[in-house]
Amino acid sequence: MREDARQIPETVERFLDSTLESVDRAEELAMGVAQRAGFDEDDVMKIGMAVRESMVNAVAHGNRYNANKKVRFSVASGTERFTVRIADQGDGFDFSHLPDPRLQENLMRASGRGIFLIRSFMDEFQIRRLEPVGTEVTLVKYMASQ
C-alpha cells in the first residue's frame, strides 16, 4: 500500500455502449479508482488490463457491438477488496470448457488468452449467467495483497 493512499471507499457505476471506446473508458475509470485506492503502478496496470480484457469480452463477444445493448460497469474500492463488475446483455458462452492457452496444442492459437490473463492478474474471478440474458464477471483484487 502506498503511504499516501487515500483509503476512502469509492464507487463508480456506468452504463456503457458496446464500443471499443467504452473499453478504453472503463479501463481509465478502473485505473483511476485503483490509483486513488493506493495500488502501486504495477497493480494498477494489471487491474487495467484485466478490466480491458473483460470489457472486450462483454462488448465484442457478448453484445457483439450491438448498439441496442449496454454494458453495466461498476468499480468499488473498500478497505479490504477492490471489486469490478461487468455485465453484458449477450447470449452468453460456454465458460465451463476454457482451454489452457499455455498448453502446447494451444500455444500458437491467435486467441483464447483473455480470461487466462484476467485470472493471472486478479485475486478472484467469477463468471455468472444472468437471467433472462447476459453474463456478469466479477474481478477482485485484495487491498492487503499489495
Binding site: V56, M108, R109, R113, G114, F116
Partner: protein, 114 residues
C-alpha cells in the same frame, strides 16, 4: 496514441519499429496489415522492434503469434527486439517467450538471421 509503425531496411532484414499500444482494433489491425503486406512482397526476414510499445493486450499477443505463423509458413523468419518489461512479462506468463527469438540488441538480432 494507438500504434505507429515505421519500416526500415538493413541489408535483407526489414526492421519494423513499433510504438504505442497494440490492442484490439486499430493497433492490432495496423500491425497485421503491415506484416501481411511485407510477406506479400516477399520479405523473408522481419525484425519487430517493440521497444516503444507501451501496452499490449491479448489481441495484440494474438497478432504477434499470427505474425510469427504467417512469416514462418511463408518460409521466412520473424524475430523480436527490445521487449519492454511488461511485454516480456506477458510473453512469459503465456509461455510464448520461448516461442519467439527475442533479442536485446539490434546488431545481434540482425546477425541471428540466417
Amino acid at each position: 496514441m494507438s500504434v505507429k509503425l515505421t519500416t526500415r531496411q538493413i541489408g535483407d532484414v526489414s526492421v519494423v519499429d513499433v510504438a504505442g499500444r497494440i490492442t484490439l482494433g486499430e493497433g492490432s489491425s495496423a500491425l497485421r496489415d503491415s506484416l501481411r503486406e511485407m510477406v506479400g512482397k516477399g520479405q523473408k526476414k522481419i525484425l519487430l522492434n517493440l521497444g516503444e510499445v507501451s501496452y499490449i493486450d491479448s489481441s495484440g499477443i494474438g497478432e504477434l503469434v499470427s505474425a510469427f505463423t504467417t512469416v514462418t509458413n511463408g518460409g521466412g523468419q520473424l524475430k523480436l527486439l527490445n521487449l519492454t518489461k511488461r511485454v516480456k512479462d506477458l510473453l512469459q506468463i503465456t509461455k510464448l517467450y520461448t516461442v519467439f527469438d527475442v533479442h536485446d540488441s539490434e546488431v545481434s538480432a540482425i546477425r541471428a538471421f540466417v
